[in-house]
Subunit: 248 residues, 4 copies
């Protein structure tokens, strides 16, 4: 494959960082800018950010068409995301745009719409230890990642996670409090690739962790397709083989 | 498993049969009643039917709660199915109700919503021969089915079919005009089982074919779960293991 | 499906129980008889046992042909299992016999042969707590099983488990020492169904646990196919459609 | 990913070409050299060939260790391939070497060993038309491939193909005589990627077809992993979390 710039758009709800001093202290410029700064040195990325408050949430048709891979972080305002934007994003993903859904994005309208399920899970915010086990060291998304990643403090997400069986299960999380979780999952929908990655609660510095950033950078390369294909048509087709008269 | 009555609801748009004499001649009482009559002798089924014109399309919450497996046939009026009913059906499927989607139901709101894709395909109505090849003679849905089924005349559906990779691909169709199609596919979504079965164009007597009826009867047994489980909650969980003070 | 007796054969290496007093104290008649006694009341089973020391390890062609589901427990003597018996078992599984592989059976010749991989894993014997999380309460194998099973003391098995991606991942284990494991996995190979279930170290009373027994009983029902089909032939086929002269 | 030379080894039984004038006329230097010449201009490949008659069939440990992707064509002499070489190839695939199995290689010892099944199928040699339908235009292996490929004359392979459900089903073949076949399938085993591609009967000039060559070139890029990892060890692990005394 040719080495090429990957156009990445990082979408963030961007509310906790403006309201909660604890979050502000960790992500003064917002989670989106922290991820952008972290990704920059890890690949040939052209990064733009977008937030809920912008017109069309910063995700106009023009922006989406120029986006190879969209990252999505949301939590408390999923219901404020307009149906029109969600439909646009779904259209682009099914046409070939990559989508990386982060942490509480499991409840984002766009993720639930692409999965077809409710995407519910168990949770606990107790700043406990998380250990993500690497099931697929062969996988492009996990290149450079050791046999496990340890996060000293994270929110707990526990099974059962209400998702369709992933195409690939890449990592499973162990939590100090006794739960497990499918934390790194891939799916293909239409012509688009989707990656869900669990860690990233706003009250912990997860998006400064070099392994987490490496996984997100790898995932951008994995999720980027070189084509956008139309999946909206159901074309009438002429026969490719001669059909007997009675079948005309 | 214990032998138990399976509560089957057959939903049919029921428009072609009232408008098109050619269809009326084949299915005078409607596709739904033809399927009901065909299924009856093949298992311990309590069958009810429902149509678009009925209040709530015949699919009230009460009906859906008493339904183990819902069959769905629709074609020209997908957009007339109310969002509220579609949401109710999705909720029930994710909770454990079985869903069998027939032929042009590939474009039904409920199927697209559960798949997360557009479910587009190629098509041609030329009354050509279809041969469905049996890939999984071991599978409960294909018990009693030979190595292939031949339908003398059917509508053609051709790949690419825009669906998520099926959990199980049971049959592939060969068409006289030169196309192929994944004609019998299963998925699990939430706690519910979904089966898509391709044949069944309204202008051909497909639903009188004994193999087709056997597959639908088997699919009802396969899709029926004995539980309905709530997938709408994301419960807060207490730790199952002692957490060190700093993690409280 | 008709209610029918399931012919179950439980194979056990049966060495630890004759050599190690600690194991003998837990399984005085052997792991195979403990499982047999536990399964008996849970379904309509006709149970036979077989061990390494018997002629053909108790697995003659006749026995295998009469077996619907074979359970396999082995540990220290995998290399003493004859290639001929392994070939016979593989032939029967691919023809439709169910196979349930238990605990250290992950390294059994028959399991590695059916998986095509080395089936390696991490391990530790420290009598730590294991908690198996239920990912698929809808699944026949997990009927009657709560959201998790806790085993006070078990051997640890940790990822990466070198297996092909399971068709279905049913349970994930959490271990007190910090690891996770895919503990309940299903595959279909040929016409046969295969289930791997992790717990069952010889020094712990795991096979007396009612949840463990319920899972094994359910798995026997799930793995049993009603057909045995020949997969050894590659038949020459006559064309089903007329071929133009130049293609004869 | 960085652009890097891919070390490709093309293995060919190389018997038909030396015995059958009809085959010799099509592949005077052998199928392996025809594929080598065809691949050369399509990527940065360092290509070597190996044949049955060479010592260790040309697949010494040294050759395999330097091979990123191995292509395999065999037909009449599968049983002459030494077990030792098959074991070496399996070890390398599970460690991360890519494997591309061609046409009648479905019955090669190495393919059956990696699949765990018998890999049987239906067949007919009648020089009929084959049309391979593209199910995954998004997939790296199918970049540059149209919605279908037509081969004027090929051997027929028909379902049921006795393989484990592929990780990805990329193409389905339509045959003039009335059969279908899963013609382009991928699997991951251990750390290695495996691709099976159906066409390529020795009596037809299939390996001169530009689409076929493009698919093989793409598949080399897809199958090449940058790592070789040991899958032969089952390491004892120290606990990562403190275990209570009773659990030591």
């Amino acid at each position: 494959m040719r080495m090429e710039t990957i156009n990445v758009t990082i979408w963030n709800e961007y509310l906790h960082e403006t309201r909660n001093p604890r979050v502000q202290a960790i992500y003064p410029e917002g989670i989106h800018r922290a991820i952008a700064k972290g990704l920059e040195p890890l690949g040939d990325f052209a990064i733009r950010t977008a937030t809920l408050a912008e017109p069309e949430h910063g995700l106009s048709a023009a922006v989406l068409e120029q986006t190879d891979v969209l990252l999505w972080w949301g939590h408390v305002a999923h219901d404020q995301v307009s149906e029109k934007v969600v439909e646009q994003v779904q259209l682009q993903v099914l046409s070939g745009m990559g989508l990386i859904v982060l942490h509480s994005g499991h409840y984002a309208k766009i993720f639930k719409r692409l999965m077809g399920t409710f995407c519910s899970l168990k949770w606990r915010e107790a700043g406990e230890r998380e250990r993500l086990w690497n099931l697929r060291p062969d996988h492009p998304i996990l290149q450079g990642i050791p046999e496990y990643i340890e996060l000293r403090e994270e929110e707990m997400y526990g099974e059962r996670f209400d998702i369709p069986e992933p195409d690939e299960l890449l990592m499973i999380s162990w939590f100090q409090g006794g739960e497990v979780f499918r934390s790194a999952c891939t799916w293909t929908r239409g012509h688009g690739r989707i990656f869900y990655f669990r860690p990233g609660h706003e009250t912990y510095p997860t998006y400064y962790n070099p392994h987490v950033l490496r996984i997100l950078a790898n995932a951008c390369g994995w999720a980027r397709r070189r084509v956008r294909l139309d999946v909206t048509q159901a074309p009438h087709s002429q026969p490719l083989e001669p059909l007997p008269r009675e079948a005309q």
